[in-house]
C-alpha cells in the first residue's frame, strides 16, 4: 500500500473497552513512520457502557477526522453488535472486518428486557457486507496473558497481523514499549497473540 490513498480504519466498541487508547497506539505508530494521521472519536455522553467509535485515517494527505459513510477500508470490531451497527453505515463490498466475537451485553439485555442475537447470526450479516471477515475471541486470548483487560491490544495485534495496513509488528511493539509502563509485558504479549492468530489465518488464505 505505497500509493497515496488514505487508509480508513474504524474501531467500534463499547465504553471501557479501551478503544480510544488503541486508536492512539496505532496512530502514533503511523505518525512515527512519517504518515499523516487523523483520529476522530464519537462517544456520546462518554459514560461507561455506551457505544464508542473511533475513526482512524492514515495516509499522506491532511484529511478530516471523519470517514465518509460506506468508505471504511478496515473495521476493527471490539464487540459484535457494535461492529454490525457501525458496519451498516461504513462498510462496503471491498472492506475488511476483524472482529472480536466476545459480546458485551447492553444493560437492557442483561436485565432481561431485550434480546441479544446469536453471534453467529451477527457474523453472517457482517460477512455479507464486506469482502473478508476475520473473527477471534480476543477476550479469551487476553485472559491467557493474565488480564482480560488487554483485549484491546490483542485486537491491535490482529489488525497488524492482517497486513492490511502499512504498519509492521516492530512499529507497534515500539509504540507499546514507549507508551505503556504499567502492564507493558502483558500488553506486548497480548499484541503478539492477536498478531499470530490473524497472521496464521492470513497465511492459510494466501
Amino acid at each position: 500500500m505505497s500509493d497515496l490513498r488514505t487508509i480508513n480504519i474504524i474501531i467500534a466498541g463499547v465504553g471501557g473497552q479501551g478503544n480510544l487508547f488503541s486508536s492512539r497506539l496505532i496512530a502514533l505508530a503511523a505518525l512515527n513512520k512519517g504518515f499523516y494521521v487523523a483520529v476522530g472519536e464519537t462517544y456520546g455522553a462518554a459514560q461507561r457502557g455506551g457505544s464508542v467509535m473511533s475513526h482512524l485515517r492514515i495516509g499522506q494527505k491532511e484529511v478530516g477526522p471523519l470517514i465518509p459513510q460506506h468508505s471504511a477500508h478496515i473495521l476493527l470490531g471490539f464487540e459484535p453488535a457494535e461492529t454490525l451497527r457501525v458496519g451498516a453505515s461504513y462498510l462496503n463490498p471491498q472492506a475488511s472486518v476483524i472482529m472480536n466475537t466476545h459480546p458485551i451485553y447492553p444493560a437492557e439485555v442483561l436485565t432481561g428486557q431485550l434480546e441479544y442475537p446469536p453471534t453467529t447470526e451477527i457474523e453472517e450479516k457482517i460477512g455479507k457486507l464486506c469482502s473478508d471477515l476475520w473473527t477471534l475471541d480476543a477476550v479469551e486470548l487476553a485472559t491467557k496473558t493474565g488480564s482480560p483487560l488487554v483485549m484491546n491490544t490483542v485486537m491491535v495485534g490482529a489488525l497488524i497481523g492482517s497486513q492490511l495496513t502499512p504498519l509492521t509488528q516492530n512499529d507497534l511493539e515500539q509504540v507499546i514499549s514507549s507508551q505503556i509502563r504499567r502492564l507493558q509485558k502483558v500488553n506486548l504479549e497480548a499484541f503478539k497473540l492477536g498478531f499470530k492468530t490473524v497472521r496464521k489465518v492470513t497465511l492459510a488464505f494466501s
Binding site: 465518509p68 458496519g87 462498510l91 434480546e115 451477527i122
Partner: protein, 636 residues
Amino acid sequence: MGYDVMFGKTGNTVLGLGNEAIARGALEAGVQFAAAYPGTPSSEILGNLALVSKGLGIYTEWSTNEKVAFEAATAAAWSGLRALASMKQNGLFVVLDSLINVAFSGHGKGGLVLVVADDPLAHSSTTEGDSRPLGNYSDVVVLEPFTHQQAKDIISYAFDLSEKYGLVVLVRETTRLAQSRAPFTLGEVPHPSRKAVFDHSIPLHNLPRPHIRHAELHTRLEEIRKKEFEKSPWNRYTGPRQPSLLIITSGTGWKYANEATQILSTKGVGILALTTLSPLPEKLILKHLKSAKKVLFLEEIDPYLETQIRSLSAGLSKTATPKFYGKLSGHIPSYGECNIDHAIDAISRIQGIKYTPVSRAYAVKAKEAATLAPRRALTFCPGCPHRAAYYSILQAIKKNKGKGFVTGDIGCYSLGAFYHDIMRSQLSMGAGAGLASGFGNLDQFGLDEPVIAVMGDSTFYHACLPALVNIIYTQSKVTSIIFDNRSTAMTGFQPHPGIGIGATGEKVTTVPIENLLKGIGFTEISVIDPFDIEKSIKAVYKAITATTSHAIVFRRECALITNRRLIKSGEPAPRFIVDTDECIGETCKICSVQFNCPACVWDNETSKARIDGVLCNGCGVCVQICPAKAITGVKR
C-alpha cells in the same frame, strides 16, 4: 493527558487533541493565568495547563462557574498578565453579561483570550449553541482555527491582538477539532516574567456614558478589520480565479470541503477558509463573491457566515451576486454536525454529480442488517450512587401515593431522565432548583404534588445557590437533593470546592455543602449515604410530606473512583451471589428491572437473577432491596 504535547521539545511533531494544541499554544503565548469550569468538549484545555502549571509558574484554577472564570481572568489581564478562560458553549451563555461589559470597558494592558468549544450534534450537551454570532453580538474579536497546527499557533496571535487593540479575543473551536487527534509541530515555550500590577489608570467600568464606550469599541473593531483582517495570512484561498463553485468555510469545514471535492473529482472549485470571523474581512469576501457564480457555505451549527455574507452581498449588483447554497437553502441541514457526508451531498447536488459509494441494494441490505443489533441505552454504572438515590426517591413517591415529581439539570445524574423517566426536566445548570422554586409556590393555585429538585455537587456551587436562596426567601416548598459524588464526574473527575483539592492537586480549603445550606437558612438538612436504602427512603418521604423545605445531601463517591482506588490498593471488592432457591423469579425482578443494576443479570434459562461478578461494583444495594433475602455477600 497530553504529556508529549505539554512537555514536548520545540520542533517535535506530536499527535494531540485540538484541546491539547490550544493548551500548548497558551504556553507558547506566555500565558500566566488560566481559569475554567469543566465542560465537554472543552475540559482538556485547563486540565493540560494544570499539568504543567506548577513547574512553569502558571496559575490555574477550576472556577465555580464560567462567569467567575472569565472575571478572574479579566483581573489578571487588568494587572498586565496574559490570561485565558476556557469553557464549552453553555459557559459562554453564562459569561455573556460580563463579556459584553468587559468588551465595552476594556481590560487593561494584559491579553485576555476566551476559548469556547462548541458542540455540534450535542454529543455531550443539551443544546447546540454557536459562539460565533454571540461573539459578534458581544463586540469581541472572533477567530476560528481550521487545523490543529493553527489551533496551537493562533493562541499567540489572539493574545497579540488582544493586547494591541485592547479587545477580548474569543477563539472558537468545535468538538471535531477539540476532541480529534492530528499532528502538529511544537514551538518554543517562553518563561513569562511579567509582574502583576494593579492599574490605577484604567477603571473597568463604562461610567458615566456607556454609549460612548460602545462607539469607541466599534471604531477599534473597524480598525482591526482594516489593518489586520482584510489581508490576514490566517485566511486562506485555494483554487482558480474564477471558480465554478466557491466554498466559504470556517473551522473543520475546510477539511470537509477539500476532501469532498477530491472524492467527487470536481474541477474548478475554490475554497475560501476564513479564520477571522468577527469582524469579517468584508473587502476580501466581496472580491471573492464577484468572481463566483455559485457559493456554498460549510460551517458548524448556525448559518453565521451565510447570513453575514448574504447581507454583505446586498451591495452587489444583481449580475455580480452569486447564487448562495447552505443551511438557508436546505443544501446543508440546519441542525447537527456539518460533516463530510453533508459536504459531499451538497457539492454533488450543486454540481450535478452522481455520488453512490455503494449500490442501492447494498445500502438497503446494510440498513436491514443493523436492525439486528440491540440498542445500547446509556445507564448508570453498576454500583452508581445516583441509581440508589433515584431508587429511594421513586420509592418515597410511591409511598406518597404516586404524588411528587423531580426537576434536575446537568451531570451524570441527568441519566435520571431515562431511569423510570424520573427526572422530568433538564435545562441549564441550576435550572432544576430554579424551576422547583417556582413549582413550590404554586400550591395556592392548586398544585398538589411535592416538587423535588436534584442537583449535582459541582452544579450546586456553579448555579444552584441563587435558586436555593430564593426557595428559602420566598418560603417555597421544595425538597432539595444534592447528589454529592465527590467530583465533577461527568467531565472527567475535576475537583470542586467541596473536596478540598485544587486544579493542580494541591490541598485547599473545603467549602462544605451543608455549611452553605445552613447559612442560607435551611433548618432541615440531612447528609445520608444513598447506599442505605431504608434511611434514604425515609428521609425523602419525610421531606416531601413536610410543610417546610428540606435539604438532603446524598453523599457517596462515584463508583468509578471507588473502583480505581480498589484496583490501586489491590483490596478485593465485596462480592455477592443470588441463592437461586430463594429467588422468587419472574414475578419479582426487583433487582434487575426495577432497581435496574446491569450487574443483576437476568438469567432467561433459569428465570432467576444472577450477579455478574465482573460487572458488580459491590454496592450492596441489591441485598437490601431483595424481598426474598436471596442475595448475600460472599467471604473471600
